[in-house]
C-alpha cells in the first residue's frame, strides 16, 4: 500500500522528468502498482485539490500538491542519508522505499539532526538514480 505522500512524490518526480504533466501509467510504474490503483488514488488527490487530472494529458500537481510532494521527497532524502551515513545500509534505496511510508516527518526531522544534508535539498535529488545527486554513495559505502 502506498500513502498519499508517496504518490505525490512519484508524480512530482515524473513531472520533473517529463517537464510537463505526468502520465498515470508512468506514476503506476514508479510505485509498482496497477494503473487502476493509481487512478483511484489520483482521483482522491484531485478531490483534495492536490492535483489536476486531464484525460489523455496526464496529472499536474497544484501549488499545494507541489509543496506536499517536496516535503515527502525531503523526508525520503533524510531516510536515505540516514540509512547510508548512520546504519551503513548498502541496499538503501529499497529500504528507504519501505520505510518512507512508516517514518513520520517528526521522526525524520530528529534523524536529520545527525546527518549531513545540504541546504538545497530536495532540489539535488537525482530521480534516475533514486538518490541525492550530491552524495557519493560508492565512497560512503567503501569508507565503511
Amino acid at each position: 500500500m502506498n500513502t498519499q505522500a508517496q504518490y505525490l512524490k512519484a508524480i512530482y518526480l515524473t513531472q520533473q522528468q517529463a517537464d510537463g504533466p505526468a502520465s498515470t501509467g508512468e506514476v503506476a510504474d514508479l510505485l509498482d502498482v496497477s494503473p487502476a490503483s493509481a487512478n483511484e488514488m489520483i482521483g482522491k488527490l484531485e478531490d483534495r485539490d492536490l492535483l489536476d487530472h486531464e484525460k489523455y494529458k496526464g496529472v499536474d500537481l497544484t501549488d499545494e500538491g507541489i509543496a506536499q510532494a517536496r516535503d515527502a521527497l525531503q523526508n525520503y532524502c533524510i531516510i536515505e542519508r540516514f540509512l547510508i551515513e548512520v546504519l551503513e545500509v548498502e541496499e538503501f534505496q529499497a529500504e528507504a522505499r519501505q520505510l518512507e511510508g512508516v517514518i513520520d516527518e517528526t521522526v525524520a526531522e530528529r534523524l536529520d539532526t545527525i546527518i549531513d544534508r545540504e541546504p538545497q535539498c530536495p532540489d539535488c535529488f537525482n530521480a534516475e538514480d533514486d538518490v541525492c545527486g550530491l552524495l557519493d554513495v560508492e565512497a560512503e559505502v567503501r569508507s565503511d
Binding site: 500500500m1 500513502t3 498519499q4 505522500a5 540516514f82 548512520v86 546504519l87 529500504e95 519501505q98 520505510l99 511510508g101 512508516v102 517514518i103 513520520d104 516527518e105 517528526t106 521522526v107 526531522e109 530528529r110 534523524l111 539532526t113 545527525i114 546527518i115 549531513d116
Partner: protein, 160 residues
C-alpha cells in the same frame, strides 16, 4: 502522515528497532549535554529533568537492544551516535531552548512508538521475537514517553 502500513518482516522490524535505538541515543546525548551545561544550583528542576531524561533513554535503549538480540540484528553503538550529535550540534539552530528541545525529543519518541505499535498490531507476520513481549516492551516505553511529555510541559508552564 500516520503509520498505517504493517511491518512485513523480521528485517524491517529490526530496522525500525534500530531507528528507535538511534532516537533514544540522540535524546541520551542531547539531554546529557544539556544537563552538563545546566547550573544545578541555579536551576535544580531543569538539571534533574534532563539527567532523568538521559538516564531513561539509556534504559529504553537497552530494552530495545534486548528485542534486537532475538532478531539477530546489531545495535548502533551509543558512542557513534554521540559523536554525530556532537558534530552537528553547533550547526543546529532549529531548536531554541533546552526545554523545547526536550519536548521535541519526548514527542518524537512517543509518535515513533505509537506508530510502530500500530504497525506491528496490523502485521500478520510471526516475528523472531515473541509477539507479546515485543508489544509489552514498546507499550511500556510509549507510556514513559507520554509521561515525559507531561513532565516537560508542566515545567514549561510553571515558567510562564
Amino acid at each position: 502522515m500516520s503509520l498505517t502500513q504493517p511491518v512485513t518482516s523480521d528485517h524491517q522490524l529490526a530496522r525500525l528497532l534500530q531507528i528507535g535505538i538511534v532516537l533514544e541515543e540522540v535524546v541520551e546525548a542531547r539531554a546529557g549535554k544539556h544537563a552538563a551545561e545546566t547550573d544545578e544550583a541555579a536551576d535544580p528542576d531543569l538539571a534533574t529533568l534532563l539527567e532523568e531524561a538521559s538516564a531513561e533513554s539509556a534504559r529504553h535503549r537497552r530494552r530495545l537492544e534486548n528485542l534486537l538480540d532475538d532478531l539477530d540484528a546489531d545495535t548502533v553503538p551509543f558512542e557513534e551516535i554521540q559523536t554525530l550529535v556532537e558534530a552537528q550540534y553547533e550547526a543546529d539552530e532549529d531548536f531554541d531552548g533546552v526545554l523545547y528541545d526536550q519536548l521535541c525529543n519526548e514527542e518524537t519518541a512517543y509518535k515513533f512508538y505509537d506508530d510502530l505499535i500500530e504497525s506491528i498490531e496490523l502485521s500478520e507476520v510471526e516475528f523472531g521475537v515473541e509477539h507479546d513481549r515485543l508489544l509489552e516492551t514498546l507499550r511500556l516505553i510509549r507510556e514513559e514517553e507520554a509521561e515525559g511529555v507531561e513532565e516537560v510541559t508542566e515545567l514549561m508552564e510553571a515558567r510562564l
